[in-house]
Symmetry: C2
Subunit: 114 residues, 2 copies
DNA sequence: TTTAATACCTAAGACTTCTAGGTATATCCG
DNA sequence: CGGATATACCTAGAAGTCTTAGGTATTAAA
């Protein structure tokens, strides 16, 4: 057997969503991300916090995000924004996911007659 | 916290691809599936056997696929086809994945200005 | 005053996939 | 003839992501 250097079948879409959302903004905090995704998908997609926070921490550990904490209305918010490296990586990972989705569609969209 | 009945963020696309490929055909065998996916995606997507066979076995255990083994050119092939339940389930899972991909696009396609 | 919304977090388990093997036969090429 | 490649199946272990299911704390609404 061989199976060459592989692009994973379905890699985490969550981290790419995060990067994509941050591409368009100065900064966002975790809870805001969950609400934004809900809003964009008319409530159909829910980001669980158990997935979100570890994902954010990992992206930060990888150096793609930086944080600044700020207290608003007596509650602490942790704002995340893309680092320089994060901006580059974001573009790359979005392109990768897009390419994967294109291929997925090639497989899924085939007609029954083929 | 609450987080309602959730559609998983990252669902396995492989099993849905398998079901989709079988929707359009009488039957297929494992190796054939790997080749078909390669062909459909111009070599860009590779199904690893370490993922494929366990996925096939699981779908069979779930009652969505049945098998018939046949020897061709001295080599054993295990053909998989959709059961009646499999046909119903296939439609459902494909719709689910499609809905998920639509939502994913809503999040990914947002313009930087939004 | 209790519930819901806001806002953060973690641990345990489930699940999928990858890596990396293993077995075996047939065919192609030198 | 012999070795490599293609065909064809399989599994075990590790990696990684997400869900479930908690926890803490403040503010606003009922």
């Amino acid at each position: 057997m061989s199976t060459s250097p592989n692009s994973q079948l379905l890699k985490g879409s969550l981290s790419v969503m995060i990067l994509r959302l941050l591409e368009g903004r100065e900064r966002m905090y975790g809870y805001e991300i969950t609400q934004k995704v809900k809003e964009l998908t008319a409530g159909e997609m829910t980001i669980t916090e158990g997935a979100l926070y570890p994902a954010l921490h990992k992206l930060e550990a990888e150096g793609l995000l930086t944080t600044e904490t700020q207290v608003v209305d007596g509650r602490a918010r942790k704002y995340y924004s893309l680092t320089k490296i994060g901006q580059t990586e974001a573009a790359g990972r979005i392109a990768e996911l897009t390419a994967f989705l294109d291929n997925l569609n090639l497989v899924l969209n085939l007609k029954p007659s083929l």
